[in-house]
Assembly symmetry: C2
Homo-oligomer: 144 residues x 2
Amino acid sequence: MKVSTKGRYALRIMLDLAVHDSGELVPLKEIAARQNITLKYMEQIISPLSKAGFVQSLRGSSGGYRLARKPAEYTVGDILRVLEGPLVPNACLEGEENTCPRADFCPTLPFWKGLNKVINDYVDSVTLEDLVEEALSRQSDYVI
Amino acid sequence: MKVSTKGRYALRIMLDLAVHDSGELVPLKEIAARQNITLKYMEQIISPLSKAGFVQSLRGSSGGYRLARKPAEYTVGDILRVLEGPLVPNACLEGEENTCPRADFCPTLPFWKGLNKVINDYVDSVTLEDLVEEALSRQSDYVI
DNA sequence: CTCATTCCTATGGACATAATATGATTATAA
DNA sequence: TTATAATCATATTATGTCCATAGGAATGAG
């Protein structure tokens, strides 16, 4: 019942990019230093975010990353799902089709659907901008 | 972000006991046959439930299990936590003390606390009795 | 070109999950 | 008492995921 480190780190990376968003590209090396995460591990985490179009990147010297949209336009759920896949508490809720043979009569299915809903409603109710405000109110030097 | 099979099976076992609660002891063999779970695996799952005082057991011939309380007196969260441990989405929320060195300034901590709250509020808002009603309304022969 | 940076892929250790298996212990029925 | 049927306790094994480390290829600016 845990979110993996990849999901949690993705959130920290996106938040770091949001807090340090000056329009300039931010090299991953800087984020790695601030967040105390190894560069090589961060590359694996930001790659899916880039492929999903959540960040813009430029290779080569003086390259780096920057947010593709405004912080208010990302929900935390959006970000977590890129790294975690669907945030479902039970495999029977995954996929379009009901593959579980018990679906038609399973008495616990409504419970799992309800849990799924409260989780996803919540993570989609918080935006990256909310976290930015939280970060600014908590620490003056923006070192997250 | 998944509940393990042990947690899900625990719920099905408790529900089976609730639906077939006639005051008599129910041998695990019967539940295993109805739920299509191997007896040996079920033994591992019901053992913590028994130690937690959720079910009463009697050994020997014509022994078995029975609920220790009324179905309305168990929340689904109670049952899941016996098998899963605390239902927290992030390790930093576990334990009494704040062991995470980032806790004092971490800008994502309030988000995780909020997620933790909606999850636990929900799982504790549904009781075993609610599932019994769901089961009876879904299938006439009570074979869950 | 040269250097910094993104991008791609592979590898491995640690740990958890999901079973399966074997047998010991206990209590009831006959 | 004896056989039976159930709980209880460990151990083993396969499988998979998580968390990271690593090496190198491609790219772009100066």
